[in-house]
């Protein structure tokens, strides 16, 4: 990218913001179709039970009820992200495994009648013994959730690279610590909803908040036994995802099934509680980390064992069990490492990937480095820099790192925060901490790993961009338009975007695992360059110029330096039409990853074409009487490759710091009854950060200009969400002069750590 960009890198207001401030965009629950029915779902009151019988006679007789479905109607269709993890019946036939699992569903002329019908369905259950945590679940003789998984071990990821024991033997200092955290939740502001509409041509169109329309369509086409081109997932405004919309849920299967059965549109809108309990939750974690360092704090070996509470079914299990390890192996250099990750079934809601997935893993790695630095009399900042990943490195499991500015992130965040003046120099109960993290931009997804885009033109010079990339709120629509407008020299207002509509758009991997900009952006970039080349070829003849000398700007094509003699793009398009060479740009991008890599059987090879890196510093004050943490400031630095739109990137930093740092590390957790039943599924009891909870934030954008990212871009914000949380752990531990091992850092946990320290001091 030698030429100076005119739109890339600017704070262009997002193209979707005006319809949003007008309240005109449609979210799924806003959709209203003629003859539309309303669905409700009956859920299990038991954490574990056999379904003996379901009697729907009385419900079916209720006027206004149009269809009822139970597991018996579905032939027990199963879902799982991988062929080997297909363990969830989309509507269970004979057994339920958590409180809130779907048991039956009704479609009726109004939501009130559907709700009333649920009360008339009679289900006879035979309650079974349930397990509520990983230790109970793994114990010999515990009730087994799935037949082929002894001791309820759903997934075991085993990785070993280098000679770990030799590393420990050579180490100057070795520490082993345990870090824990309970479940947390997404709480995207939009509750889950699905609308399904059967069409006269035999196709079925669906709307739902999703992170990958093409993947949803594929799963539904399997479950409904319909051709893929007949299952159409449509574009809709989406109220946040944060990892919680990636998987496939019974809701869309149920809604689709009821719509096909009644031949009418059906809408299902989840309550807030259903959104929390019956989509996904973050995993509870129990992580043991053993690290050996040399006298300078360089890590020689690390051995990690992590147990994750996965809930009742697999979901993204193999991925979820691997990712916290992968983030860490990307962040720091590691000559030898061993990882054993276990995802364990329990009778709880299903665990998924969340924006701060693995807080008791990444947080532990960094806190332990702080502790070791202290024991060695080193500055944790220096220890971070000594271990930081560098460009050109290869990670232990074999990913080449083509761009990385982690050291700059660490240095710049520390400098902005005044680390040198603060670390070790702050008054008691006042502390500073540093966190670093790295995330991938996608991972091997086989035939669905690439993104394809198309651009067509109208005779007036306007363009229509088609891309399968979905926007969950992070600004992907704008990213696509901004890239296309930049290349084509068109005003963003002259670009019409068709995105995330599986009838029109070609494949795209989805907006999860941080790949949207890298894959989808690159595909649109390629399509725009293809279209521009065609435009230039036509224009070059008319202008009697060479293609290489042309530029596209302000909706005109002209020889560089002579904008007055240019041709309007519309005119070039019309010339192309007359000449029988219409302009249609196509482009695709398939990330270079090692397709032999597999989560369990072969965790080796290129995971992702590139990685983003981030470092955050937090400063806190702790009230020793109450354990309350006051966050005084956050300094956030990320190597996002290139900030295509700094305003959008900053928004990702700030949002990440709120959800990952302030919420994820200071307050968010689910609580359980003995049953186990989730005790805080709503906003009233589950505390997400509010405007008044946020500290001052300084954003530091670091640009490493990735060699293959679109205009050098990688991913924005994800390594901030994580590293902000890690920084807060370090800051609180630094403030109280003792490590805190259990998260989130609620006053009770902080007080316990203060007391433990005081008791320790008394004894010694």
């Amino acid at each position: 990218m030698s030429k100076q960009e005119w739109l890339i890198g600017t704070r262009m207001p997002r193209v979707d913001s005006e319809p949003k401030v007008r309240g005109e965009v449609q979210f799924t629950a806003d959709i209203k179709l003629p003859r539309m029915l309303h669905a409700k779902v009956l859920r299990s009151p038991y954490p574990h039970a056999r379904i003996k019988s379901i009697d729907t006679t009385a419900a079916a007789a209720l006027p206004g009820v149009k269809a009822i479905m139970t597991g018996q109607d579905t032939a027990g269709v199963k879902w799982g992200v991988f062929r080997y993890t297909r363990d969830q019946q989309l509507l269970p036939v004979d057994r339920v495994r958590y409180v809130g699992e779907e048991v039956a569903a009704v479609a009726a002329v109004s939501p009130e009648i559907a709700a009333q019908a649920l009360e008339l369905i009679e289900v006879k259950y035979e309650p079974l013994p349930a397990v509520s945590d990983i230790w109970e679940s793994m114990a010999d003789g515990a009730p087994q959730l799935h037949d082929d998984h002894p001791n309820n071990i759903n997934v075991h990821v085993a990785i070993e690279v280098g000679d770990v024991e030799e590393g420990f033997a050579k180490a100057h200092l070795v520490r082993e610590d345990v870090f824990t955290a309970p479940e947390d939740s997404y709480f995207m502001t939009e509750p889950y909803a699905v609308v399904a509409n059967p069409r006269p041509d035999g196709s079925l169109e669906l709307w739902m908040p999703n992170a990958a329309p093409h993947q949803k369509a594929k799963a539904l086409s399997n479950a409904l036994v319909m051709p893929l081109n007949k299952v159409i997932v449509r574009k809709v405004a989406i109220g946040g995802a944060f990892g919680g919309r990636s998987d496939v849920f019974p809701a869309e299967f149920i809604t689709a099934f009821l719509a096909l059965k009644t031949r009418r549109p059906v809408k299902l809108v989840y309550t807030r509680e259903e959104n929390s309990v019956a989509t996904r939750q973050g995993h509870a974690l129990f992580t043991t980390i053993k690290t050996g360092v040399d006298a300078e704090g360089r890590v020689l070996a690390r051995d990690i064992t992590c147990y994750m509470d996965g809930g009742a079914y697999s979901s993204t299990g193999p991925i979820a069990t691997s990712v916290p390890f992968l983030c860490m192996e990307q962040t720091y250099r590691l000559p030898a490492v061993r990882y054993n990750g276990y995802r364990v079934y329990t009778n709880k809601p299903i665990g998924g990937m969340i924006r701060i997935h693995g807080r008791a893993f990444a947080g532990g790695v960094d806190l332990q480095l702080d502790m070791m630095a202290q024991e060695l009399g080193l500055d944790p900042l220096q220890v971070r820099l000594r271990n930081a990943r560098q460009p050109g490195d290869t990670t232990p499991t074999g990913s080449y790192v083509q761009s990385c500015a982690l050291s700059q992130c660490i240095q710049q965040a520390a400098e902005a925060a005044g680390w040198a003046d603060k670390y070790g120099k702050l008054p008691p109960y006042h502390g500073i901490g540093l966190g670093t993290n790295s995330v991938q931009t996608g991972f091997p997804l086989g035939i669905r790993g690439g993104s394809q885009a198309m651009i067509k033109f109208n005779e007036d010079g306007g363009a229509t961009v088609m891309s399968g990339v979905v926007d969950n709120g992070q600004g992907n629509d704008n990213m696509l338009v901004q890239i296309a407008a930049e290349v084509l020299g068109l005003d963003p207002g002259h670009i019409q975007l068709i995105s995330a509509d599986t009838e029109a758009t070609a494949n795209d991997p989805g907006a999860y695992s941080m790949i949207a900009t890298f894959a989808g952006g690159n595909a649109v970039l390629a399509a725009a360059e293809d279209a521009r080349r065609q435009i230039f070829e036509v224009a070059a003849e008319a202008l009697e110029a060479h293609v290489d000398d042309l530029v596209a700007q302000d909706s005109k094509v002209f020889v560089a330096g002579a904008p007055d003699k240019g041709l309007p793009v519309g005119k070039v398009i019309r010339m192309a039409l007359i000449q029988g060479r219409p302009v249609i740009g196509t482009g695709s991008f398939t990330p270079k990853v090692d397709h032999r890599r597999e989560w369990l059987s072969n965790p080796a090879g290129q995971l992702s074409e590139t990685f983003s890196f981030g470092a955050s510093v937090a400063e806190v004050r702790v009230d020793p009487e109450t354990g309350m943490v006051e966050l005084l400031g956050l300094w956030l630095a990320q190597d996002c490759g290139r900030a295509l739109n700094p305003m959008v990137v900053e928004g990702q930093f700030e949002g990440g710091a709120a959800m990952g740092g302030v919420g994820g590390m200071l307050r968010e957790e689910h609580r359980w009854s003995d049953t186990p039943r989730c005790l805080n599924p709503t906003f009233l009891e589950y505390k997400v950060p509010l405007a008044c909870d946020m500290p001052p934030i300084e954003n530091i954008i670091v640009e490493s200009m990735d060699p293959t990212g679109p205009f050098g871009a990688k991913e924005a914000g994800m390594s901030i969400a994580m590293s902000a949380a890690q920084a807060i752990i370090g800051a609180v531990s630094n403030a109280i002069g003792a490590p805190v091992y259990d998260y989130p850092l609620t006053p009770d946990r902080v007080l316990r750590a203060i007391r433990a320290k005081q008791d320790g001091e008394k004894q010694s």
Partner: protein, 165 residues
């Protein structure tokens, strides 16, 4: 269906237009606005008064439509997000939200905008702490609030005829 409770007449002005309809006594203002009047800019994020997404102004006061019975608005003037812009274009708050990048997914935006409008009607010169306090009944999961606070502060300046700092 046994919901045969007598419907009652409801008259109100919504976004400047008179509205007259029959509603059930238990129907919420949120239901009436969204389902009967198709004003789906009013969002339901929780249905129990906790998230602020359903905020509308009733006679100039911010109310949670999910906790307000429709009949409570009888004789009142209701403003929803759809009524913020006029023929001249977007309101100052809407413009400020766009320019500051305060909109991500947009689900919280209607409630945030009405709360901001309400604040600036009451207090043309709020400081940052006041803005944060006023918006703290509104949950945004995307933005971390920084750009929303900035937008409100910019809108306040512009309403006073000053350039945002």
């Amino acid at each position: 269906m046994s919901l045969a409770i007598k419907s009652q007449g409801l008259r109100m002005t919504v976004n400047g237009e008179p509205v007259e309809l029959l509603v059930q006594p238990h129907e919420t203002l949120l239901q009436v606005l969204r389902e009967r009047l198709d004003l789906t800019g009013v969002k339901e994020g929780c249905g129990e008064g906790a998230c602020g997404a359903c905020t509308v102004l009733v006679d100039g006061l911010a109310r949670r439509a999910c906790l307000t019975l429709a009949l409570e608005a009888d004789g009142c003037s209701v403003l929803t997000v759809e009524g913020l812009a006029d023929d001249q274009g977007l309101s100052i708050e809407q413009q400020a939200f766009i320019e500051a990048g305060a909109v991500q997914c947009g689900f919280c935006t209607p409630g945030m905008l009405l709360a901001s409008h309400h604040l600036l009607e009451q207090n043309p010169r709020p400081d940052e702490a006041e803005i944060r306090r006023h918006l703290s009944g509104h949950i945004c999961r995307c933005t971390g609030y920084a750009k929303i606070v900035e937008a409100v502060s910019n809108a306040a300046a512009r309403k006073r005829g000053e350039e945002p700092s």
